[in-house]
């Protein structure tokens, strides 16, 4: 089980004066059960990339394979693919439309052909797993705060029970508490259901804390791909393209430079604490 991107290119408004190549020769393999972070400066092609993964956008050239099957094949069921590769967009306002939150979340499973009862059961489970209090469920989705809307939007995709969950900047515009809550829920989904997660984010700190593999996009190409530790070791290159490693990575680098630490590629505060305490114990 995997998603493979083979030499994917994408050009917006091809053959006009506004032509923009948003993806340049992308080769990627996303394995089952991975927790991947995608970072990159604004306009680097992150949103474009993830919309290819569930077949919403069609690559200008190149191929995409889901579980070994070419998704661009004539008789491939792309509607079904969208149920398996769930995509939550950057703005929840773009998908909320029903009179109640509960009805809105049942929209996905209903489209998949489940009966009303089954769809509601799935909506129930999904709303539970994003941690939205039950007294909200029968209110209008337009009365919610930004963070709550985000949760409902995530639940709307989770209700389809996808195998892969892709989130486009799920924490933009949230306070630190709301941000941690949403990311913790996502991490829980990953651990409990072995769901493959792709998380697009601007925040290095967030990404370092949760993901196991990090893909850095720059001007439409994959610039770096590896564990957060490996990627942050290239902090100079990251800075050159307007990104920065988490503060901790700088601290660890300085400690290594002054010979206080022998090694260590800690990327989160916790790991750094461990490593430093270890060093002083000796």
């Amino acid at each position: 089980m995997s998603i493979i991107l083979d030499k994917v290119n994408y050009v917006y408004s091809q053959n006009t004066a506004y032509e923009i190549q948003a993806l340049k020769n992308i080769n990627l393999k996303i394995e089952d059960g991975e927790f991947i972070g995608v970072i990159g400066h604004t306009g680097s092609g992150k949103s474009t990339l993830i919309q290819h993964l569930n077949g919403l956008m069609r690559a200008t050239s190149g191929g995409i394979y889901y579980n070994g099957q070419d998704i661009y094949e004539e008789d491939y069921d792309r509607k079904k693919l969208r149920g398996k590769v769930g995509l939550v967009f950057q703005y929840p306002e773009h998908q909320l439309f029903e009179t109640t939150i509960f009805a809105d979340v049942s929209f996905g499973p209903k489209n998949q052909g489940f009966s009303k009862k089954e769809a509601e059961l799935k909506a129930f489970t999904a709303l539970r797993s994003v941690g939205l209090a039950e007294d909200y469920w029968y209110r209008s989705p337009f009365e919610l705060s930004g963070g709550q809307k985000r949760r409902v939007a995530i639940a709307g995709v989770l209700a389809m029970e996808p195998e892969v969950l892709i989130l486009d900047e799920p924490t933009a515009g949230l306070d630190p508490k709301g941000r941690d809550e949403i990311l913790d829920q996502v991490a829980k989904l990953h651990e409990e259901r072995r769901m493959t997660i792709v998380l697009v984010s601007h925040s290095m700190e967030d990404v370092a804390k949760y993901v196991k593999r990090l893909i850095v996009m720059n001007q439409g190409s994959v610039m770096l791909d590896g564990t957060p530790g490996e990627v942050f070791a290239h902090y100079q290159e990251l800075e050159a393209v307007g990104l920065a490693a988490p503060q901790v990575a700088y601290l660890m680098h300085d400690l290594r430079k002054h010979g206080i630490l022998a090694q260590g590629t800690a990327t989160t505060l916790e790991e750094a604490k461990e490593a430093i305490l270890q060093a002083f114990k000796k």
Partner: protein, 266 residues
């Protein structure tokens, strides 16, 4: 699919036509449309074609891009052709069933089609080479005399420029909402008419909400910057005629005179 809509779209390029004053272009477009209804016969046809080809070539807008704007009127074109073809009286050329086509009908259909196509192409030269802002500026300036009749010229042109500006924004928004709903398994294509109409609800509700929010935000932003209508308002870039504009006026007038002369003489 939605991106095929080219109404009110601007095509950036650096050409003589792009640099003309919007008022000049408005007037020239109007004269051209007038000439389309005046011309008669092959010589007149040659004249209007030549003028259009010349202006398109000068504008540096790719011809293929222009032709895309014709797609939405294809239906109107077909209806016009059919009506002219079958309903013009005259000596029948071919006859089948209860219908007949006469030489006169054939000619009428041909010229009507040319008129319509040239009309659209001619006016799209104007919109493609003029930014919406310039266009409304030009319109406001040209219509200023109507102010005396208590017609709110400034407000009307402001409304027009906002509407034009919002077309691409709303198209983009529709595209995004469509994708968000497709990702949840929505289906906008299959099914009968009723099912299709119903499937529009998940698209239209977020679109309307977002349009109202945008309108609200815009009104607030305008008020926050003390917008109070056209009275006493000056422009950052006032329109000024240049030498090329004089030449363009002269050429357009000469062209129209030529087309009229051709009609009278021949």
């Amino acid at each position: 699919m939605l991106r095929d809509i080219t109404i009110g779209q601007y095509y950036p390029a650096d050409s003589v036509i792009h640099r003309l004053d919007p008022r000049t272009k408005l007037m020239a477009a109007m004269l051209y449309i007038l000439s389309l209804f005046i011309f008669r016969g092959w010589a007149g046809f040659a004249a209007v074609t030549l003028a259009l080809v010349l202006v398109i070539a000068l504008s540096k807008v790719p011809f293929a891009y222009m032709v895309r704007g014709l797609k939405p009127i294809a239906v109107i074109l077909v209806i016009t052709i059919l009506f002219n073809l079958f309903l013009t009286p005259g000596v029948p050329l071919v006859e089948f069933w209860k219908l007949s086509i006469s030489w006169q009908g054939l000619k009428n259909a041909g010229f009507m089609t040319v008129r319509l196509i040239y009309l659209i192409l001619g006016s799209s030269v104007l919109t493609l080479t003029t930014t919406p802002n310039q266009l409304t500026d030009g319109m406001e300036q040209s219509l200023k005399p109507l102010n005396r009749l208590h017609i709110p010229v400034h407000e009307i042109s402001m409304m027009m420029s906002i509407a034009l500006r919002f077309i691409p924004i709303l198209i983009e928004e529709t595209d995004k909402i469509m994708k968000a709903q497709l990702a949840r398994g929505a289906d906008f294509e299959s099914g009968n008419l009723i099912k299709k109409a119903k499937s529009m609800v998940p698209l239209l509700v977020p679109l309307f909400i977002s349009a109202f929010r945008r309108a609200n935000d815009l009104a607030m932003a305008m008020e926050a910057r003390c917008y109070h209508g056209g009275e006493g308002r000056t422009k950052m870039k006032p329109l000024r005629y240049k030498k090329a504009d004089g030449a363009a006026y002269l050429l357009s007038a000469a062209y129209l005179a030529g087309v009229i002369a051709l009609r009278i003489i021949l």
